[in-house]
Subunit: 122 residues, 2 copies
């Protein structure tokens, strides 16, 4: 069993954006951290619900029918099948914690230049 | 789909201790909040790994072979089958976020007067 993990400290171990790092595993799910800045890509996950918990900054989540602002200390769950487009405003880098099944690709059904194939532990 | 959830705000909606409240559901797992104070009970979960993320205070987690202090901003994953005994020090109330399968009983295999049978959403 691993020792306690300091979440904010883990963010200091990487700088690349839109490239989730794994910090925990339980019940077939991963806990991941990601630094987000500017725009990602419209996508959905066919079989996976995805939780975003905001550790720093404000995440803008575009849906096809609305826009949500998710502030530091808030979380949102995007159900499977729902198209979403995460982005940030004004060049802000936003830090998020993700919970999702181990086999989730971060760009979902979309194959994009931003798709990271090998997610690694930090 | 639910709107963003402010985690600390949700804590203001209940006061009972050792009685987890559900704030989210994804992939057969629940996200829960709990207020912990003083001692719980030795227990393990046969089939479920359990994540504790500390939102306020310091959680002491006793294992049969060691003691871990989990501070605010830290998380620990207790694997299935591992006996643990959560407690707090000096009368401090500690706020935790839990992530675990929907059918997890918080006292695990142990039936105790502290076992809460009906966990509810807030």
């Amino acid at each position: 069993m691993k020792n306690p993990v300091n979440i904010l400290q883990k963010f200091s171990l990487f700088t690349d954006q839109w490239s989730p790092k794994i910090i925990g595993e339980l019940n077939g799910q991963y806990v991941k951290l990601a630094r987000l800045k500017d725009e990602f890509v419209w996508h959905s996950h066919k079989h996976e619900d995805e939780l975003f918990m905001i550790m720093k900054g404000t995440l803008i989540m575009e849906f096809r029918d609305r826009t949500e602002r998710i502030e530091e200390g808030e979380m949102i769950i995007v159900p499977r099948g729902v198209e979403h487009f995460p982005r940030t405003e004004n060049g802000e880098e936003v830090w998020v914690l993700l919970f999702e099944p181990k086999d989730t690709k971060h760009t979902g059904e979309v194959d994009h230049q931003k798709t990271v194939r090998d997610q690694s532990w930090i």
